[in-house]
Subunit: 394 residues, 2 copies
């Protein structure tokens, strides 16, 4: 089984771009991806592509994978759209790794794109809600914020987690996002602002919820046989894990933990041969602030029930022992659904190569990305290692 | 790179099943799949799943992969929905092969499901049209039948292909489908019926167009390391090829050939180390009768422009030299979009193991499956070999 390396990663800005299309945004991300390849890459060298996209509302519902890769100049290659709700391109990255490890591809592209702010199709907003469980949640009137509000309420009741702790997650995300020129909401917010914002679904305020964004991201994954042709500083993918679960909250034994995250994390740590305390940073799926606290616990950053305390103690700030969501996360960087998972690897790639600018984590050698679909019906975790470490081991 | 084998394959009946759901139909197919495994398989032994589905119209748009695998009793495994329009589960089969060859899975499920006859959501029929190119075809009023009618007209003008030849494709499909208990339209039709039926899009009549069907199918793919645990008669996947292309007809150099099919076929033949004349049968993507004639030419069953003559000469009938669509094909067996590609491998599995009943091809040793997305924006080809041959080579 060949090792797989990230040799390039890039993204479009995340935000609201009424003059862009899903094709043009993906092309922007693809160009940023190829430009990040140290020795250059010609699109014709790419063997295969996996595109994460929910793809709705008047756009290409079928064949939207080929529709974007053709527009980016990737002519004729096998292209598949992958969907796992918000874990679409995290899943795409994993399948690109499989394609490379299988020997059927030497260089595979995993990317994603979503246009969420265009409301010209009246079904757009409607469709973005339907990654929740349909029959027992959505059709009973439950929204995504409603689902995570239930999770937050349960976590508060079970472990004493406070709304202030949720707000501190948002404050941290915005602190980091303000240093990310690609962020959708690239500004700081105070604890008072987060606390005092309008309630979306009690106990969650506006600042406890990520925005809906336009954006695209791409990651180029190469086999160990060809990685050196593209860069002297490849980022090794040392751990991969994924899992599914019942789509609805009502199908779970607990409201305060996501089994899919736990299983995906366990498998990724095992494959990488590390425990969570070896991580230097992590990008986790904070669609709502409570989701970041769940991720702390399910990924083993702290004991179960201690996630609120972890943010309160400042452990996950940029200067803390384990910086989380240095990119700004879904909350501040933004959440263009299909792009989010690949976009997390863009941040990890930059951090591990020391090119994360104002938000660089010192001596970042091992990082993790964590992408969740729906309220936990799917999860994908990757462990990545800095070039120096990868070279020592190879 | 490990070899991959089909150790089980099964499908639900294709048809109109108003009392079924996409979950229950998939479960039926999954049970047929596991029941076909000679030594039995426990669902817990399956490592991963790829589910082809367009999935629209009031059902689960996001996370529909986990929604069906959980319902089938596949708890917690990585599940990804793959979409490539009508080539969805053909692509899923290919990615399951990659998962197995990568060493990340020993036993992977590729399947698909579609519910197309439920019109309770008014957008259902609308959405099934949108795998065509959106901006320049669909929004200009072109339907799928319209796209293939243009292809048929061009083929007639360029090569003298006749409407009677198109009808002979339909007659053959129905002859085979009448012998398939799982077929949606399992009855024979005469040349006169095919010729005289109502025009859908000139020159295509109703009998030149496949139906919209409900249905599901599944294929279990095992690594060479574990295949023998499940059966003494594994079907070897010796060739795999896939390609994309511009989504719209206007993006192609020719109307009378699908470059994606040509590239996918070429790669699959090369990997299998065979030429088309070694094939004993093929399941090709005959969404419209003209599409089968294109497949003959693009897959090298005959010279370019000779596809009409090939059917007229009876070469591709069940008793001919190269039987095509012994299952009845999309035309008679049916075309539940997400299930179609996997369903083609169900027929190949049965033919290569000698269990195809009344439609068995004598001495079937090498077969091909060919799945197309849209009007050629994607294509996937697999070459499969009978157990005896697989054993000799291993």
């Amino acid at each position: 089984m060949r090792d797989a390396y990230v040799i390039g990663a890039g993204q479009s800005p995340y935000g609201s771009f009424p003059s862009e299309s899903y094709r043009s945004l993906f092309r922007t991300a693809f160009e940023a991806t190829t430009e990040s390849v140290d020795h250059g890459v010609d699109p014709s060298e790419i063997d295969e592509a996996f595109i994460g996209m929910i793809s709705i509302g008047g756009r290409q519902l079928g064949l939207s994978g080929p529709a974007v890769t053709e527009h980016a100049g990737l002519h004729g290659i096998p292209t598949t759209r992958v969907e796992n709700a918000c874990a679409a391109s995290g899943s795409g990255v994993r399948h690109a790794i499989q394609a490379v490890k299988s020997g059927m591809a030497d260089l595979a592209l995993a990317g994603g794109v979503e246009m969420m702010t265009d409301l010209s199709s009246d079904t757009t907003r409607y469709w973005f809600g339907v990654s929740g469980e349909t029959e027992w949640e959505r059709m009973a009137g439950t929204t995504f914020s409603g689902v995570y509000a239930q999770i937050a309420s349960a976590h508060m009741a079970e472990y004493g987690t406070t709304r202030e702790q949720l707000s501190r997650v948002a404050v941290k995300s915005h602190e980091n996002g303000a240093r990310n020129p690609k962020a959708h909401l690239g500004f700081e917010c105070s604890l008072e602002q987060a606390e005092g914002a309008a309630t979306v679904a009690d106990p969650l305020t506006l600042y406890h919820c990520c925005p809906t964004s336009d954006g695209a991201a791409g990651v180029l994954i190469a086999s160990e046989d060809v990685a050196a042709e593209y860069t002297d500083r490849p980022v090794k993918i040392s751990g991969v894990g994924a899992a599914s679960d019942g789509v609805g909250l009502f199908q779970r034994e607990s409201y305060t933990s996501l089994p899919a995250t736990r299983k995906a994390g366990r498998d990724a740590y095992e494959m990488a041969g590390i425990s969570p305390d070896k991580l230097d940073f992590a990008e986790v799926h904070d669609c709502f602030s409570i989701a970041e606290i769940l991720a702390y616990e399910d990924l083993g950053f702290c004991e179960v029930g201690q996630g609120g305390q972890l943010i309160e103690d400042g452990v996950t700030t940029l200067e803390g022992d384990l910086p989380v969501n240095t990119s700004g996360g879904l909350k501040s960087k933004g959440h263009p659904i299909g792009a989010t998972g690949a976009g997390q690897l863009v941040e990890a790639f930059d951090q591990l190569r020391g090119t994360a600018g104002d938000r660089q984590v010192e001596d970042a050698e091992i990082g993790l990305t964590h992408n969740v679909g729906g309220s936990g019906g799917a999860a994908v975790v990757h462990v990545l290692e800095a070039p120096e470490r990868a070279e020592v081991e190879s």
